[in-house]
Symmetry: C2
Subunit: 515 residues, 2 copies
């Protein structure tokens, strides 16, 4: 058994049985070994950002890591943006980067590069395999490291000769550290603060965005009057009819500050201290009001759901907080715009759907319009690196094959990782993609006016215009059936038809700019 | 004048007047400032790899740097692969990466990332702008650093507040170190070696691939009997009828070893020591034969053309080495394959054309078939990171607007940075793209058989198959007129028509796998 076979067998034995890959010559032994470990599913991507984003989406829905296989430093570079998003999502990813054979590095061949330096920018754990003797244990350690807690990108750099030389064979799982239990005195302290009666809020994020934890957060809110907010960009929010109502912290700093206004206490539950997404001249970066004390109930490496349950118990919270009633918007008519697009989605979203949301400005109304739809999951752009939606939808579809995945994708962002559509066709994935085409980097039009540089001139504005993209043709180039809608009625009918397809389909929604 | 205006004005004053960009919020002051410095041409890309590859192509043809504008760590990641190629091409690139405002970093906002670590992987020079007071000098220093010698990627990390705060204004150029003169005793030593009569070769690369230097290399070969070889992947080779014949070192190690066989002396002229592109089990990485002495005439930071001229003079070399006679292949007929495709290109290549060659296996015959065409330039994949051809062609077309750019692009590689086509349309660039569609990562089929893993199984082979891509539709999605050819006659007629278009056009050549 060579090192590559031992690595793949170890991955499978550690519960990692999907590998999103874009291999090159130095990974050919890994590719060759796929036939000797049939439990490993290799999913080919035409671009590394598709592979890494798919691993992110997979982990969000499977709650366990996929592997990624990349080719040297440049391949890692191409995958970096979506690894950044995965890092911010705190999901486990086993990121395997092939390298030249150990003895070849000294020749500084054309593809020689500083993989370690590049990997450190996105990985909490990085190790270079030293030999085919250790490759199996290194692999098991990478899987364990990826689990964290919290989940993280664990990068294993694999020189080609450690794959092709003989190995002693696979090993079993390495120990996973797991999430820590929040100490009871912290629970008691925060319970006392909330009982004190001063205006308070819970800011819930991360692993606390699942129904059970949200339910406990809502109970705490009910018992104490604390406002329950969610972070702006959750990794995976369970939502829909029957789930507790949670107010999302706004993206725009001014609005977020209004939501936090007047609070004397803010309790963070696996959520970051509220800060502005970007800095703006003469605007605050820290969004917490002066005089508001910030308490951490649960840090990312701790058990947030357990902490919320304990807090609710400590407060003798009622067991049945109000939940969102079932309800859908009517099928929209008239102009196709951000609002009618959202209403069509709300009218049609299937039960159990997974929404990968990179709708940006045109997606603004989508969460509101779907709040009362049957239970579903919502995945958001945790790290702000665009090109996330299509790959994440692809990986999510691999993780939960029985469920419909809907990708809400802005035109500008779609153009980063559109190669995802090809993988969807190849794997027969059940993804409905909605492209929101307003011919613009609309969010940047807003940002350009917000950064205080004064009125922009024509040359600046032209840098934010991206006209002339035909997404029906783009979909056709990769074999995805697609249609284009220019009215709300057309869009609703076309979306219904696309959802009815058991496999990839795409609807291009031609919309005006929201902003 | 704010920092951004001072930066752009300084770039222009230092001779950098093109910026390939894919900006985000933290770069909005830079974008805004474009209207106050009209000499700066902003060229928008839909993906960062297009911007960085375009800067590479621009520098190869303009012999001076363009600027690149990227958005934080993820944007840099997306641009990394083509920066790697530019680094290997030893061309100057001024790589501007926007960052959060200095005071915002501590909030660890979603897009916060370790830009420095990522940048170090591809940049010889990295600096973070400390304030708007220093931004102009930092910019001038980055331009100077990019020139080297040799040319390099100089990365300037620019916190947003250093752009929006007041600055003292632009500064003039910083001193450029320039290429060193090769000492005369080294010239004399190498002249003595070559006069010695033992079998010798010159391996010419880098800046020595221009006509004047190649002419002197050929003179040296004529005077001494030394074999004149060129490196496998030159940055920019001037070639065609009337240029001296130079034998290209083969990509495949076995062939390269045969070319170097029997040499007792190998003289490197701005070329790397011959090493295998990848390592293979039981094959040599070092391709130089045992007993062959390697001499460096000119290192990358030295004046290679001057050294060759001095060497030719020291050897009293004849002034008129043989040159390649004018001649084109006949228009091909019959099956469309790598060879007939190359012959069609040879039959039609316009004088002064620039060929960006990422033809990979199907491009194998292209150099041979065009050797006797009117003088032209040939740009190759210096760093081995695929996704190079379309962006490099785009940048080359910006650099030399009067000349036809031909992009030879393999299907797999095309899918990395196909967004280039949109920039070509937007800027009206005169690029003819030939997509070589064999539905396969054909080079990996070859590599898979070469790595000694034994016969591949069906699952391994399926990872190298990329069927179902329709490049005519892909071109249409971005507004490029395109046709598909399946016979040599069709291809020749379509290529002729595409070349006749004054602007972007694309021909998809459906070809069988070469290997």
């Amino acid at each position: 058994m060579n090192g590559a076979q031992a690595m793949i067998r170890t991955l499978v034995d550690c519960g990692v049985d999907v590998c999103f890959m874009n291999p090159g010559t130095s990974e050919m032994h890994f590719v060759h070994a796929l036939d000797s470990v049939p439990e490993m599913r290799g999913v080919l991507a035409l671009f590394e950002g598709v592979a890494t984003g798919a691993a992110d989406g997979y982990a969000r829905m499977a709650d366990r890591p996929a592997a990624v296989l990349l080719h040297l430093g440049p391949g890692l570079g191409n995958g970096l943006a979506n690894l950044h998003n995965a890092r911010r999502a705190k999901v486990p990813v086993v990121n395997v980067v092939g390298d030249h054979a150990t003895y070849h590095a000294k020749y500084d061949a054309p593809l020689q590069s500083d993989i370690l330096s590049i990997a450190r920018g996105v990985s909490s754990w990085v190790r270079t395999v030293a030999s085919s003797e250790t490759i199996a244990r290194d692999t098991a350690d990478a899987v364990a490291a990826s689990y964290g807690a919290p989940g993280q990108v664990a990068t294993l750099i694999v020189p080609a000769d450690t794959c092709w030389l003989d190995s002693p064979g696979p090993v079993g799982p390495s120990p996973v550290s797991g999430a820590g239990t929040v100490p009871s005195d912290r629970i008691d302290d925060i319970a006392a603060v909330l009982r004190g009666g001063e205006p308070a809020g819970l800011l819930v994020g991360g692993t606390a965005m699942r129904t059970g934890a949200l339910h406990d957060a809502a109970r705490v809110g009910m018992a104490t009057g604390a406002k329950v907010l969610s972070e702006t960009f959750p990794t995976r929010a369970e939502r829909g009819a029957g789930t507790p109502a949670v107010e999302r912290l706004a993206y725009l700093a001014e609005f977020a500050q209004m939501q936090l206004q007047g609070l004397r206490h803010l309790v963070l539950v696996d959520a970051a201290h509220p800060a502005s997404f970007f800095a703006y001249p003469d605007k605050a970066s820290d969004l917490v009001a002066e005089g508001c004390q910030v308490h951490v109930l649960s840090a990312p490496d701790e058990d947030a759901a357990g902490a919320l349950a304990a807090l609710a118990a400590a407060l003798d919270a009622p067991s049945d907080p109000p939940v969102i009633p079932a309800g859908r918007p009517a099928r929209p008519t008239g102009e196709l715009n951000a609002e009618s697009m959202a209403n069509a989605l709300g009218a049609l979203l299937p039960e159990g759907a997974v929404v990968a949301d990179e709708g940006n400005t045109t997606g603004l109304f989508a969460q509101g319009a779907t709040a009362g739809c049957p239970p579903h999951d919502w995945l958001t752009l945790t790290g702000g690196a665009i090109g996330f939606g299509l790959p994440t939808a692809t990986g999510a579809a691999v993780a939960v094959p029985g469920r419909k995945v809907i990708c809400l994708e802005a035109d500008g962002s779609a153009m980063y990782t559109a190669q995802s559509l090809w993988t969807q066709v190849r794997e027969g994935l059940d993804v409905t993609t909605i492209i929101l085409n307003n011919g613009s980097y609309a969010v940047l039009n807003m940002e350009l006016s917000r950064v205080g540089a004064g009125d922009p001139g024509p040359r600046a504005l032209s840098m934010l215009d991206i006209p002339g993209l035909d997404f029906v043709a783009l979909a056709a180039s990769m074999g995805v059936p697609a249609t284009r809608a220019t009215t709300a009625e057309e869009f609703t009918v076309q979306l219904e038809a696309a959802i009815a397809v058991d496999g990839p389909a795409l609807v291009e929604a031609v919309v005006p700019r929201t902003i």
